[in-house]
């Protein structure tokens, strides 16, 4: 394809002009793509199939322990009792779950916004980073959940103290992920851009923001799995409504099936949040390779 004068001759049938041999996808590349696809299909089966099996086994063990009378039904209800409670008391569950969901939604909205805002400010400013990053990390040793009773004292029995707790739980992983994401931007793209006169604003929107998104979603996933638990624990310390309040009440009434029913619902909420974030992640950052993908 390359003649002695270094220019192309008429294109050979197998290679396009200007192409140093590895331009068009070869047969091998096509086959590799097919193999990848079938591997992905198998991976999907492993991804959902195996955990489902493990879950079934655990449920079986639970049924064995409780129905078999190995553990007293005063402390461990049977799966069927719990299921029955979930159906029969659905109005009560729903009334309380609504409150918890509201706390999570408000806390998430505020926590994610604050985390992004703070993360971007600290991530883009070396001085701020030096001053605030160590404090931020240090603040994580503050026992925020242990402070919940004080928050109740300050903010009352309503949803406010719970929202504050959820915000605090979400804020940290989102902030740290944002800062890390901003640090992961290729310095060379920035040099390329600056030398062409691109403004800091242009570089921020075209380069920094998309580059940080995969990291931000990593933080959001962590945050999403904590959010529901944080809301419920906050409710333990004093609330009229919410799944945490329902659990404390049921517990003191020895209504163990309701306690377990609430746990099931909190778990479902947590999983739902995680799934929601994962779906969003696929939407927003389809190019990113995810470490938690099998």
């Amino acid at each position: 394809m390359i003649t002695a004068d270094g220019l192309q001759t008429a294109p050979a049938p197998t290679a396009a002009p200007g192409e140093p041999r590895d331009g068009a996808p070869t047969e091998a590349e096509r086959r590799a793509a097919l193999r990848r696809r079938s591997r992905r299909r198998k991976a999907t089966a492993t991804r959902y199939g195996l955990p489902a099996l493990v879950l079934l086994a655990l449920l079986g063990l639970w049924a064995l322990l409780s129905v078999g009378g190995i553990v007293s039904d005063l402390v461990l209800p049977t799966p069927f009792e719990v299921a029955k409670s979930l159906v029969d008391d659905r109005a009560v569950y729903w009334m309380n779950a609504r409150v918890t969901l509201l706390e999570i939604a408000l806390g998430a909205a505020i926590g994610v916004s604050l985390g992004l805002l703070f993360g971007v400010m600290v991530g883009l400013n070396r001085g701020l980073r030096a001053a605030l990053y160590p404090l931020l990390v240090g603040s994580q040793s503050l026992p925020v959940l242990a402070l919940a009773p004080i928050l109740v004292l300050w903010l009352g029995f309503g949803i406010a103290p719970k929202v504050v707790i959820v915000v605090q739980i979400i804020f940290f992983p989102v902030t740290v992920a944002t800062i890390q994401g901003l640090g992961a931007v290729s310095a060379e793209v920035l040099v390329f851009g600056r030398s062409l006169g691109a403004s800091a604003w242009t570089l921020f929107w075209k380069v920094r923001v998309p580059a940080m998104m995969p990291h931000v979603f990593g933080g959001l996933k962590i945050a999403s799995s904590y959010a529901a638990v944080a809301a419920v624990i906050a409710e333990y310390t004093g609330a009229e409504k919410g799944l945490g309040a329902l659990m404390t009440r049921a517990n003191s009434d020895y209504n163990i099936p309701v306690v377990f029913g609430s746990v099931v619902i909190v778990t479902v909420i947590g999983l739902g949040l995680f799934l929601l974030v994962s779906l969003l992640e696929r939407r927003v950052t389809p190019w990113a390779r995810r470490a938690d993908e099998i």
Partner: protein
């Protein structure tokens, strides 16, 4: 776009001159002198390769050329006039292709033009048709992750070319490629350069690459970088790596450059 001659007319780029360039990082006791008293002159259309020990200040030299870093004292002159601020003629390319993973090939190629302030549409206008010139036809809508190393570097090269800037600052562009791909890319770059003779400053660690590509070869000292020797590469073009290997003049040049790089006195100088 790819065949367009560098801008013509009044403001056209005709020459680049480094006059006593100096640059240090940090201040006082901790200052690291990266470039010291560096002089060099390039005429438009020249292909000059820069060879120097690692960490000697090559990339710093490029930042001085582009205006991203400032020389104190010393000056960068364009067409004999000192530049203030950014150099409006330069475009970079790097070793790590620095492609944006979330952009398609076409969108990556358009990035430089977007940085220049063009609208998205304007930036892409003629690019799709030009992909073939860089061996990227049919790949417009693929993402970088789907490309081979050589293709990725061709995307990066095209992105730099597409800015239509006449002075290309190529900082070890093929440094991360395997030997075979590297030779192919070198020949590819030579063919591209042959079409419109942009002015090229090309940093490399590879002596063979420096001789194969350059009209002139600039050997830098250890840090702080200064020009140790300028060597005219008087080998006829077009050149091909496989044919050069047995050319006596090439062998001679190569031996000379190698001896410069291995000079024991010079090696002790780094401070």
């Amino acid at each position: 776009m790819t065949n367009a001659a560098p801008t013509t007319g009044e403001g056209a780029f005709r020459s680049l001159t480094f006059e006593g360039l100096r640059h240090a990082y940090g201040e006082g006791e901790d200052a690291v002198q990266a470039v010291r008293d560096l002089d060099l002159h390039l005429e438009a259309g020249e292909f000059v390769t820069v060879l120097g020990p690692s960490g000697c200040g090559k990339s710093t030299l490029f930042n001085l050329a582009s205006g991203l870093a400032e020389s104190t004292p010393g000056q960068v002159l364009i067409n004999g006039e000192p530049i203030a601020g950014m150099n409006p003629h330069t475009a970079y390319m790097f070793q790590h292709d620095a492609l944006l993973e979330w952009r398609t090939v076409l969108d990556n190629v358009a990035l430089g033009r977007e940085f220049l302030g063009m609208s998205k549409k304007e930036a892409r206008a003629d690019l799709r048709d030009s992909l073939a010139d860089f061996g990227l036809e049919g790949f417009a809508d693929r993402h970088p992750a789907e490309l081979s190393g050589g293709m990725r570097q061709r995307v990066a090269l095209m992105r730099t070319y597409a800015t239509d800037r006449p002075l290309l600052l190529l900082d070890e562009p093929f440094g991360a490629l395997d030997a075979m791909t590297r030779v192919r890319m070198q020949e590819f770059l030579l063919r591209k350069w042959d079409q419109d003779h942009r002015t090229v400053l090309f940093i490399t660690h590879d002596v063979d690459e420096a001789i194969l590509l350059g009209d002139r070869l600039v050997v830098l000292s250890h840090r702080p970088a200064t020009v140790r020797e300028e060597i005219k590469v008087d080998l006829p073009r077009p050149r091909r790596a496989d044919q050069l290997a047995s050319d006596p003049r090439y062998v001679e040049l190569r031996a000379h450059v190698m001896s410069l790089l291995h000079d024991p006195v010079e090696q002790g100088v780094s401070a």
